[in-house]
Structure formats: C-alpha cells, structure tokens
C-alpha cells in the first residue's frame, strides 16, 4: 500500500468535516515523508501507525464530541438536501409534463376567433373531401390519415348517410399545455341532415391540423 492510499483510507473513516480531513491527510503525509527521510521504510511506518481503521479510530476517539456532532449533522444534511431537491425537481418536472388546460381566451399562443374559423374550414374541407388542402395544413403524422378511406370509416361509426351539412353549432375551445407543447383543442357540434356530429379538432401552435375525433 502506498502512502497516499493509506492516508486516503484513514481519511475515509474519519468523522470530521472536509476541512479537518484535508488537514489530517496533509499532516499524515508530511509525517510519513519525514519518517521516510529518517530512513524508516513505509511498511514500518504504517505498522507503527496502525491499520487505517485503527488510526482513524484513534482520531475519532479524540475528536471533540461537538465536532463529531457537527460532522453527523452535515452528513445527514448532505443526504437530506439532495434528496429533497431531487423530490422537488421530480415533482416540478412531473407537474411540467402533466397536460394542463387553459381557457383559449387566456391563451398567449392562440386566438379564439382564428381557431374557430380554422375549425370551420377543416370541417368544410372534410365535407368537400379536399384532402390536398387538408394535408397541406396538417402535421406530418396526420397527412397519411387524411384520405377517403379514413373519412368513410370515421363517418360510418356514426351513420352510413350523414346528408348535407346544415349548420355549425356551439363551439368550446381550450388550450392544452404539456411541457413546451401548446395545442388548441376545440369541440364543435355540426348539424347534418341525418345526424348531429360533434367534432373534436386539435391544432398545434402553427395552427396545423393535428387530430380529429367525432362522436
């Protein structure tokens, strides 16, 4: 065992603060070097000083109770403070990641009138089966779904024949915030000749079409 390894092993077992540990390490190293300069071999010196644990015990027995208490308190704080901070951080991150809804009128990203207008336009394009126009203003993952087959399947879940669109009804909109992502989600009831359909349409921050659900 080298002198530094020995001294570090002693320091690890000391029950005192870091400043005192550094001081003890420095003094032990100086002492060992002095003894080596006087012709003692390292093995003899270590043998005389005792095993690392024994030497540390010697220090610990003689370190004042007050200093040992301070060390124990600091040791607890070193564990408790990072743990508490980690819990707070995880809590904040969890809260940040949870989806939160905000009234669209209080949104700093979306304009209520614009969202409503875009919703109506989307419904009109769906009814007109203008998939090119729909895809042009949709997010990439939505584009492959905007086709005649998907539209028919969606329509059939409610009725085989919706008939002509008669009128747009009430609309309800919120902003959904999740992390850094902001979405506008609106529900609009539309009356057709044979069925009343509630659309739930979703748009991203750039008002790109991002989701649809009908009931």
């Amino acid at each position: 065992m080298g002198e530094k390894k020995y001294v570090n092993a002693v320091a690890r077992k000391l029950k005192c603060d870091g400043k005192r540990k550094r001081e003890i390490k420095k003094q032990l190293l100086a002492d060992i070097q002095m003894r080596e300069n006087q012709g003692e071999r390292l093995e003899e010196i270590i043998s005389r000083m005792g095993k690392a644990g024994e030497l540390a015990d010697g220090f610990n027995e003689n370190i004042s109770v007050e200093e040992q208490r301070r060390y124990a308190r600091n040791k607890v704080l070193k564990i408790v403070i990072p743990t508490v901070l980690a819990v707070i951080f995880i809590g904040m991150a969890g809260f940040w990641m949870l989806p939160k809804t905000v009234d669209i009128e209080e949104s700093r990203v979306f304009d209520k009138e614009e969202v409503e207008a875009v919703m109506k336009e989307t419904i009109e394009l769906l009814d007109a089966e203008d998939y090119d126009a729909l895809q042009k203003n949709a997010i990439p993952t939505m584009k492959p779904l905007l086709n005649a087959e998907t539209r028919e399947n969606m329509r059939r879940t409610l009725s085989d024949d919706w008939g002509e669109r008669k009128q747009f009804g009430a609309v309800y909109m919120v902003e959904v915030i999740q992390g850094n992502s902001h979405l506008a989600v609106g529900e609009m009831t539309v009356t057709y000749e044979n069925v009343s359909v509630t659309y739930r349409l979703t748009y991203d921050e750039d008002m790109r079409f991002a989701g649809i659900y009908v009931r």
């Binding site: 015990d57 220090f59 003689n62």
Partner: protein, 111 residues
C-alpha cells in the same frame, strides 16, 4: 486492567504535556511525538491519531497556533505549533492543578 488505568491517567495529562513541550519553542507533530517518547523514557508513546486531535482542540481553544513551513530542498512542509499567551497562562494553571493533585496523591500513597 493496568492498561485501562494507565490509559486514563495518561489521557488526563496529555494537554499539559503537549503545552509544556511547546513552551520552549514551536514544534511539528512528529517532533512532539518523538520528544514525548524520549523525555518520558518511552512511557508516553503517542500515536498520530492521539496527538493531532489534541493539537486541533488546543488550537480551537486558542492555546496554540499553527503555521505550515514551506518546503525547503528535500525537506517536506511541516506544520509547526507554538504556544500562545493564553496557552502559557493555561499551562501555568494546569501545572498548578497538577502539583496540587500530585502532592495530594503523594500524601495518600505515603501512608
């Protein structure tokens, strides 16, 4: 049993002996250990783990002051301890206590 009493008795006088050794001049830790061994004719064989906490405590109490020497040539840096004015006064007080106790013990032991 002898070890236990020997340890207790020695422990009670270590502060006084360390201060006494520092009375004449500043000394470093290993020097104190060596002088303690030589002057006591190997009765006091102090280990680093015993001496340094005593020195730290005496320093915290303002009875000794310390200073690291710079490394000169092959000589490694040393931490020198010197007795302070407060330390001198405390030493005088402890020596007085020691003399009274020693006298009292002597009287009992002579019977």
């Amino acid at each position: 049993m002898t070890d236990k009493y020997e340890r207790q008795m020695k422990k009670g006088v270590l502060d006084m002996l360390v201060l006494r050794l520092l009375k004449s001049e500043a000394k470093y830790g290993y020097q104190i250990i060596q002088e303690m061994r030589e002057k006591s004719e190997e009765i006091f064989l102090l280990k680093d783990g015993t001496l340094y906490p005593i020195l730290y405590r005496l320093e915290d109490d303002g009875l000794v002051a310390s200073k690291w020497s710079g490394a000169v040539g092959k000589q490694v840096p040393r931490k020198y301890y010197e007795i302070t004015e407060d330390g001198m006064q405390e030493l005088a007080r402890i020596e007085d206590v020691w003399r009274r106790i020693s006298d009292g013990i002597g009287k009992i032991m002579e019977d």
